[in-house]
Symmetry: C2
Subunit: 200 residues, 2 copies
């Protein structure tokens, strides 16, 4: 099988959510797996000098209009969360633990967490809510809570975020196909061409 | 006839070029005219705190890869200019003068200037080169040179740039369809849906 598609994202990113619900189907169509890489954009922004979209002059107002419009355009349910953005250490750590325990369940866990936040308006920043959401998706609530507090898992998230920065990741979603970088859900047409034809 | 599509752009913007060569055909398909609005992104960046893409950490390197790739993806010729970015007062002023004299020739003039810079690697920042390019496209060289130095035309460009900022424009291309804002050549699919169906 060819290289997995590497999918970097932050759980607070609406565009990451829009990408996450599509990348699995796109990968499967071209017989690729997906490597899911939640990261903390806050650490990335310290390097780039950027900030969460809503706080940016002009661009912030536009983004708040573009995010739901892009979801409607693609037919993806999105109810903009009451609290936005949020800290995402808890859901991100949970994903790295699930990857160790049951790699085939990572995609379902990512989608469950993203839907909780961007469709059901549940603030997944707290470990309790992250654990509730994943328990409803079939994971063990106590194990999730332990994982979120686990020092090795915390280190893993820090390391993956640093690796992302070292690879040039500056936003969410950020996708690598055989090393080629694609930023944004609006590059999925180019990703599909790359998967189909190779470099263009 | 329905409202014209308002197309804001900077002549130094590769994504603006990619949008410019497409917007006329898209507008015509839906029986719309295009109002061409060259602006100075440098003035916009003072408001947003941003800077030309190549100077931004991480994002700059990505942009230099994404710009030519996006052009290849769409089959649009692009030879990345040796000098980039450039000051664009001269070509922008020339366009506002042409709009006063011969509004039906604005699109041809925009495309001629953009192609000179992004295909033929001609630095159009100087009035002489802007005048040469437009003379080859059928305009009067002396009149173009006079227009670029004209105080009223200079004012017009400043005013249009300020109007753009007041309307929330922060990048290039930036398009309004019946007041709805769309940023980037990668929103042309949404622009087409909006033109076809109205709001979605």
């Amino acid at each position: 099988m060819a290289n997995p598609i590497e999918f970097y994202f932050d759980f607070a990113s609406p565009y990451g959510y829009i990408g996450a619900v599509q990348i699995g189907g796109l990968a499967g169509k071209y017989e690729r797996a997906v490597t899911w890489r939640p990261i903390l954009l806050g650490a990335v922004f310290k390097v780039t000098g950027s900030a969460p979209l809503p706080s940016l002059p002009l661009k912030g107002d536009y983004a708040l209009r573009d995010m739901p419009r892009s979801a409607r355009f693609l037919g993806i349910p999105l109810n903009f969360p009451t609290t936005f953005p949020i800290a995402t250490q808890a859901p991100a750590r949970a994903i790295y633990w699930i990857e160790q325990q049951a790699p085939d369940k990572v995609e379902a866990a990512v989608i469950a967490l993203y839907r909780a936040y961007f469709v059901k308006n549940r603030d997944i920043s707290g470990p309790e809510t992250t654990a509730d959401v994943l328990a409803a998706a079939g994971f063990d609530r106590g194990q999730i809570l332990a994982a979120v507090a686990d020092a090795a898992i915390k280190d893993r998230l820090r390391q993956e975020t640093q690796t992302a920065i070292d690879r040039g990741v500056f936003g969410s979603p950020f996708v690598f196909v055989d090393g080629e970088p694609f930023w944004g859900h609006d590059r999925f047409d180019q990703i599909e061409r790359w998967l189909r034809d190779g470099s263009f």
